[in-house]
Symmetry: C2
Subunit: 682 residues, 2 copies
């Protein structure tokens, strides 16, 4: 269902009930651009830390507009054994509410706009009929203003449409040049009282003059008058004065306040849909959804916090249950079966063996999408197929049960390991941002941080390190890059060799991080340790078994950092960006499933309130724990990136909660191939 | 005629010949916004200096996109005694040319977008079919790249579609992991030589691999092969190798270069129209055209210079003859007859006595506009009526001749006084930016610069200066404002009173300017004195007789600075900005007329080359000169803003060049009311 400003109010109850009845929700957003600064390969450095990535996206992606929002609700019908879907495609635009409302400026990136144009995106619908919105602070301000007017009304001060600090309750200060004008108005109003007319229309005048009229009439005629600003057909504003008894006057004021209240709700506009999604607490599914989540919070809730940790907390308040299908598809047991995780390709592969096309039916009154006729990059359609992908993958997990189950619900424990882990584009050794816990901290002791003159090319770095065999270059900016050596023991040799170099400088990754942290005191002080969380550990040997083989292979090739990367991006969803003409690729998408559990979470924004949520439902299953079996180094929870740290394959100890149909439990943690009833995440 | 990417190439010759044959051109631009920083009243402070205004517009307006450009050509037909018009409405969008071309980011301001949407603006046409463009540097870079390829071709290096510093003429450095792949390619090509096939299609591969193939094949098979990148239907790129003799190979390479040349011209796109306008040297008319001129130069020529003086020089190179109809309408003899200079209102008033509707006819094959059915804010239409306004006003000047003339050509001396003076929005005492000379420097010794806590409102300033009668407040930012006193002799009293104030601080305007200039050394060093120009002089007493009575009256009222200003703007063309729903107002427009005289001016970008232009044709008429008749102070050309300086009513001494039909000359400089055959500008 297409929703614009024109049918928004009429559609709202349909949207609310669809959310209310759904088992899970899928979402997707389309933006006016991706990066207003560095190009995409610099924006997504393969060795970013999660903090760095968050900071870059916040800085370079948030001034774009999320102007189309797709929501598809999925409700399982037991009798039909299929999902009933209700897809919505919302057009969004920050039309200024009135003359004092914020006049939003947003950036457009021509490659993104051109790409959407080539996909048939309707910009006129966005700009002419987009639904407005307010973030929470703007909404609060507006409600406060309305409340103030209501109070003034209650105190009998009238409701000037023009409130200013200087409009006191005393006689208005009328500047010399307006005195004649105001005196004539007063004479006319006095005449109104003595004649049989009911109303008096004054001539159109300026806002300042109207303000003077309001102040003067309120002062001179505290009773018996209703004063209101009207508009001529030519949009000129004028004041209408009516003789009314006190009761009539109050009734009119009341009507006016109700109108204002409704106008206010109209101004909050699309944000109300996001609030409903949030309050439902349902599972919100998206594909490669980090940017969608960031934009949604930024645009409809509040400016994003500086700190990643704070962002995670806000995210959990807004979306208590998220699932990213790109992350799911890149994880065991799917990653072995799926070679291209772009949304369009994923959807195709999930129709083939060993997966099954999900049984779905579009609810009556909703236009149905045909997946054979791809309508990719319409947010509503993308949300829809994201939901389909989730269902196929969830159901596939049921085949590992004994006996196998064909249908796995959105509430199943089987999918919990994928909760609240958002795919991180193109980071070599950190596959996801962990919203409800600490992030993975891979060992990067084979990585060097190199600074050099801006004339240098990848080939210069290649030559510099020619003695060390294959290297991998990740450009940071014009004058710095990470160089990963294939052997950790070469690091010291490289460091020694460079000691007297003048044109370039080499630091170990640990030194680089240390220097960075020094610049931002306090950033690293936060830990998750207090709340029963164990600090993350991650052996670099684990990494090699992990995934992204294609990406890895590409980024290992020399010279590639300079030129090959663009090509390597195609399958990773950024492709339309570098190659506006490539097909079948996906910009970035947001689908966020949420769950019943925490309808209140939105209200409680404190760290405690939020952590309680996590504790109650999935901290036990998801928390990384020291790996006693194959510890390749220290398991000290306090060890940092420089120490030898390990990270255990997450074992989702489901037995604890006693699930039905479960016979084998102990094998879960053994190895990535022993996967049986519960998928291991990494 | 509507021109988009689809019909652009076919229309170009029509556009060129319309420009070539025209007597004058009218232009107009529509932008995606006005200010990305301060609101409009702060952007256009009533006491800005021209430098300050330029700097603010450059900083806060140039990141918007000029996405619709109107051009209307006017050619006078002697036999029909009417103008034949050819209106064009160009849609413009910086579609990236290829993967290495700049990916432009531009800002949209929601109030501007909403306003255009309400006027029926077609955003889909802009974003889907907008004509691309390049500025001069981008064009030069692209031409250089093409040239490089051409040279490599001439040297027999072939034309790899992939040029990089590391692609030398030696054997390619093939990384280990690609060696097998490349060897297989070489084997296939060797087989091609020994079989009867003419061409060989390699499998699709990455850009990096294609680069390796090009390098290797060029090295191994310097003759007999043509290698070219092709694209499958799925947009996958692959390499096609063809056996060719040397002649065929050269022919193919030549074809390829020609294709590239054409693609390059396509990429330069709309800039070619601007180049044609510029090279024609014709009079370019616009309404309130400063922003249009700035955007046009910024988008199609070069980033705007820091310094206003440099901007003026660049402007004269690009548009040697400009005329701003808003400035013309605000000037004697028109300002007494026209009370609203917004484009729509001006056009209406110029149909009434004493003016005459101009006789115009749309050229065959062009859709004709109906001025009764306003299509305002379509750039083509706005350019059209801007031209009509110019014709009406120019012809009106003819009524002062003896005998009166009904038709005044765009080449008439009568209109020269209006040349190259661009209307300055809402500056109280400097009506225009003088592109070909020094700007007016009004005495501002009744003005105080006041700084105060950010909590202060206009009413606080009003109270502070309550002893001094009427004051006028021009806000600069949250914590500073100009306060104009009605009596200059009160300045010293105010200064004395404030000496021990702690919460606020008062400086004279002269002190303020001095402090500002200190911050920017060198800015004020530039003078126009050397080239026969006399420095500008301007008595504040002249100001009072000058104009803008409505604006003046408004801005004198207290409290107004805070709230009344928005209303006051309506008639000034910014209105849709504060009041998105107001009609009949005009955003900002660009029409720039130019003249035959200086077709070469564009080429010569030096100060000398440019000044010669001015010298030759109008410096004598336009230069302000010391006023011997009513000098109210020093006429020393070296005196600065703080001294007592005067500025003479510009006397356009046309007699010097001996115009026909002219009988009286001496009266021209006498007074503003003695205007007879030549209008005085101020």
């Amino acid at each position: 269902m297409e929703v614009t400003r024109r049918n928004y109010k009429d559609s709202l109850s349909t949207v609310y009930s669809a959310i209310e009845e759904a088992d899970f929700l899928a979402i997707d957003g389309e933006f006016s651009g991706i990066s207003d600064g560095p190009n995409v390969s610099a924006l997504t450095n393969g060795l970013d830390t999660p903090e760095e990535r968050y900071t870059k996206l916040k800085k370079h992606s948030m001034d774009f507009l999320l102007f189309q929002f797709g929501l598809c609700t999925f409700k399982y019908d037991q009798t039909k054994s299929k999902y009933i879907t209700k897809p919505f495609n919302f057009y969004i635009f920050p039309k200024p509410f009135n003359r004092t409302s914020p006049d939003i400026k947003f950036i457009c990136q021509s490659s993104s706009i051109d790409f959407l144009a080539s996909q048939g995106f309707d910009f006129n619908k966005v700009f002419c009929n987009g639904i407005p919105y307010l973030n929470q602070e703007e909404e609060a301000q507006l409600r406060e203003q309305t409340e103030e007017r209501r109070n003034q009304h209650a105190n009998g001060v009238g409701t000037p449409s023009y409130i200013s600090p200087s409009s006191s309750k005393g006689p208005a200060h009328v500047p010399e040049e307006h005195k004649d004008f105001i005196n004539r108005v007063v004479e006319k109003v006095e005449a109104l009282f003595s004649n049989s007319e009911k109303t008096l229309d004054l001539d159109p005048c300026t806002g300042f003059q109207r303000k003077l009229i309001y102040q003067t009439l309120n002062w001179k005629f505290p009773k018996g008058l209703h004063v209101e600003t009207m508009e001529t057909e030519k949009k000129e504003r004028y004041i209408q004065v009516s003789k009314v008894d006190e009761e009539e006057r109050k009734r009119r004021e009341q009507q006016k306040l109700e109108r204002e209240q409704e106008e206010l709700n109209d101004a909050v506009g699309f944000s109300r849909v996001i609030h409903a999604i949030s309050k439902s607490g349902k599972l919100v599914v998206g594909h490669n959804m980090l940017l969608d989540v960031m934009h949604t919070i930024h645009q409809f809730y509040c400016p994003l916090p500086e700190d990643l940790q704070d962002f995670k907390e806000v995210t959990m308040c807004v979306f208590p249950r998220l699932l990213d299908t790109k992350l799911m598809a890149s994880t065991q047991p799917f990653k072995e079966l799926i070679n291209n995780t772009s949304l369009a390709e994923l959807e195709k592969q999930l129709k083939e063996t060993p997966f099954k096309s999900p049984q779905v039916e579009t609810a009556e009154g909703f236009p149905s999408y045909d997946t054979a006729q791809e309508q990719l990059h319409e947010a509503g359609y993308d949300a829809y197929i994201t939901g389909l992908c989730f269902i196929s993958m969830a159901n596939y997990l049921g085949s590992f049960l004994t006996p196998p189950k064909a249908y796995i619900s959105a509430r199943s424990k089987l999918i919990e390991p994928f909760f609240n882990k958002l795919f991180l584009m193109r980071i070599i050794d950190i596959p996801y941002l962990n919203i409800t816990g600490p992030d993975l901290q891979p060992k990067r002791d084979h990585v060097l941080y190199v600074t050099f003159p801006k004339e240098w090319k990848t080939s210069d770095l290649y030559q510099l390190f020619s003695a060390f065999g294959n290297i991998q270059v990740s450009w940071i900016d014009d004058t710095s890059a990470f160089v990963s050596l294939s052997q950790t023991d070469q690091v010291q040799i490289a460091m020694n060799t460079s000691r007297y170099a003048e044109s370039y400088k080499i630091q170990t990754y640990a030194e680089y991080i240390q220097a960075k942290d020094k610049d931002k005191p306090g950033q690293t002080a936060k830990t998750w340790g207090e709340d029963g969380w164990v600090k993350s550990h991650y052996t670099s040997s684990t990494t090699s078994g992990f995934g992204y083989p294609r990406l890895r292979k590409r980024s290992i090739s020399p010279v590639q950092g300079e030129q090959g990367t663009e090509e390597a991006l195609i399958a990773d969803g950024w492709s339309h960006y570098s190659y506006p003409d490539s097909t079948g690729s996906k910009k970035m998408r947001t689908d966020d499933p949420s769950r019943q559990a925490n309808a209140e979470a939105v209200q409680s924004k404190t760290s405690e309130g939020w952590l309680k949520t996590t504790d109650a439902s999935n901290s036990a299953e998801l928390s990384p724990a020291p790996d006693d079996d194959k510890s390749s180094g220290s398991t000290d929870p306090g060890s940092d990136a420089e120490g030898t740290i390990t990270w255990q394959q997450t074992s989702t100890v489901q037995g604890r909660k006693g699930q039905k149909n479960k016979k084998k439990k102990s094998e879960a943690a053994e190895s990535t191939t022993s996967l049986f009833e519960v998928p291991e995440v990494w």
